[in-house]
């Protein structure tokens, strides 16, 4: 936990100076509210974007998309086919700072586990980016709608290079990372360290063990009637990381590239084989597949939950399908099964 005495406070104007220097060395990526950029007309959206000042940052609203696109771009070039020979593209990757809430920092731990070590293979592209990233913690004064980070124990984190809080007319910051310390003033003040949410508005009970009996339950049929397989839950999820691969000729017809693109187990063709055999056609089955991964399957493999309780899937589902409600139903089934079976 942050030591109060290590906190620093600076004004908005000072912040501009600090930012200018910092941004010579780091790309700074943080939540920004963009009016008119919402899906529906005349709506705004809170996004992760490169910012040009601290003041631009939206500290108080949950972002719609997570920051995972920084580490796993929606479309990422793997290599080019120049002269028909696969060849990595040597883009210079600049150091980055990402402003994240506790849950989202936990989400990066999930991605790390998967991409850096999972199955004995290291993902070259993820790793290359990840090394350049420093995490700036931002706090949640109270849980947002649909959040259940406490239940998933992602409400708190110590895994950050710096912590920053927006206050009236300025900022409070606690820098831990040695490299970064140089950029910030050192005027130790007696201000509070990061505050973490301590109580979910609706705590979620994470099932301990899930056997195959859950697969037969009618709830998935119900979800088949509700879910429209739009994939938004996976797109906004900070831990969903599936991808497809496509060879794409750029518009200038120069060397083609093999790229990876986000994929979603909720969307058609995810599990389709050439010859059109698909292993999960029904929406309910896809939802089950996603849901169990988040709360059980990943944990079985990696020892901790994939879901970080950020609630973005619930925020975004056009059908108001709720992760919370679904887990509740799974718990009911398990309970009923353990009593009857």
């Amino acid at each position: 936990m942050a030591d109060k005495s290590k906190m620093t406070r600076f004004s908005s104007e000072q912040g501009n100076t600090i930012f200018n220097i910092l941004s010579r060395h780091y790309i700074i990526i943080a939540p920004v509210e963009k009016p008119g950029k919402g899906r529906f007309s005349d709506t705004s959206q809170v996004l992760y974007e490169q910012v040009d000042s601290f003041d631009e940052i939206e500290f108080f609203k949950k972002t719609h998309l997570s920051a995972k696109s920084v580490l796993l771009p929606l479309r990422q070039t793997m290599f080019s086919f120049r002269d028909n020979k696969p060849e990595e593209i040597d883009d210079e990757i600049r150091p980055m700072i990402i402003f994240l809430r506790s849950c989202d920092i936990h989400a990066i731990k999930v991605l790390d586990a998967h991409f850096l070590n999972g199955g004995g293979y290291t993902d070259f592209y993820y790793s290359r980016l990840r090394q350049k990233v420093k995490l700036f913690l931002i706090e949640c004064e109270k849980p947002f709608e649909n959040c259940f980070c406490v239940s998933f124990q992602t409400n708190k984190t110590d895994d950050w290079a710096a912590f920053m809080r927006k206050v009236k007319d300025g900022y409070e910051v606690h820098v831990r990372d040695e490299e970064l310390k140089a950029y910030f003033p050192r005027n130790a003040e007696n201000v509070a360290g990061p505050r973490f949410v301590e109580q979910d508005s609706c705590p979620i009970k994470i099932p301990q063990d899930i056997d195959a009996s859950i697969f037969e339950d009618d709830i998935w049929k119900e979800y088949t009637l509700r879910c429209i397989a739009c994939g938004r839950c996976t797109v906004v999820c900070p831990t969903c990381s599936c991808f497809s691969v496509q060879d794409i000729l750029p518009e200038d017809k120069s060397a083609g590239e093999r790229k990876r693109l986000w994929a979603s187990c909720m969307v058609k063709k995810f599990s389709i084989l050439a010859g059109n055999h698909d292993f999960r056609i029904k929406e309910g089955d896809r939802l089950r597949y996603r849901m169990l991964h988040k709360i059980y399957d990943f944990r079985k493999r990696q020892g901790f939950n994939m879901c970080v309780g950020c609630g973005r899937c619930d925020d975004v589902c056009p059908e108001y399908i709720s992760m919370f409600k679904c887990v509740e139903k799974i718990n009911h089934i398990i309970e009923a099964h353990s009593i009857n079976g």
Binding site: K37, R39, S41, G231, I248
Partner: protein, 324 residues
Amino acid sequence: MYNTKKIIKNAFRISKVRGETAIRLRIPGGHLEVKYLDVIKDLAQRFGNGTVHLTTRQGYEIPGVKLSDIEKVREFMRKMIYEIEKSSNVILEEPEKGYPSAGTRNVSACIGNRVCQFSNSDTTLLAQKLEAAIYPNNYHLKVAVTGCPNDCIKAHMNDIGIIAGVLPEYDKEACILCEACLDNCKMRVTSALRIENYRIVRDEDYCIKCGECILKCPTQAAYRGKLLYRIIIGGRTGKKNPRMAGTFIEDASEEVVLAVCKNVYSFISRYIDPKPPKELIGYIIDRAGFDTFVHEVIKGITLNPEAKLAKKLDNPGYFYPVRK
């Protein structure tokens, strides 16, 4: 006893019941603050028969009102109609006399983007701007604004229909080729999208700017660009030639929409046949010709660069056979 023409001009109706009228209230854009429901209720209970009719143009009609009570009614509703019109920036100069004209009907609008996910604009707000631009006016004109080509307001049956659209912008680098936009456009719209070299290509010739691709895109690779309106004209029902409005200008800006609607009145005033009580604009265009209409209506207007004028007017409909 009563000057029916003045009464009608005041937006009261001459009822089939002798000596009775019906109060007609304009609700531009169809959105009403509920505090006025008290006034409407009182009107209906004190002067009417305790009922209201919700009209298809989103006004109220309060039936069963004695013509002899009209003065009292005007006084009773003076403040309300003044305020409602004022919220559209229409200042009634003599609200105590009721509405100054009835020819130009309540500008109606679908529920719009205050509620509806499909709507590309705040239709009520545009309806209110239109009200400010064209009301009061004695020429008979029905204008309706709809938020997307679904046209829930049935703009196609209005003299002027405004259909809000959006130019979908596309960020290829955010597209994960889920094909949600593609499948949806094919199923519900015009199949204007295709995949070419792993990106979505939108065929401008087919895109009707409904914005559904934006709604369906999980990553928002498709996102909202310019708000553009399709102006359709000449729709109507009636006893001669019920017909749908046809496209006049595609992809007009809001400024153009407002200017066109204003200019339509000068066209009407120049070309209307004064004989029949209310010649509808479609019939006037039939007589004057579409070219004349275009010439008169776009006079003095600088079209936004996207705007495309129709070369001819197509008003699909049918004629009741007329005995020669």
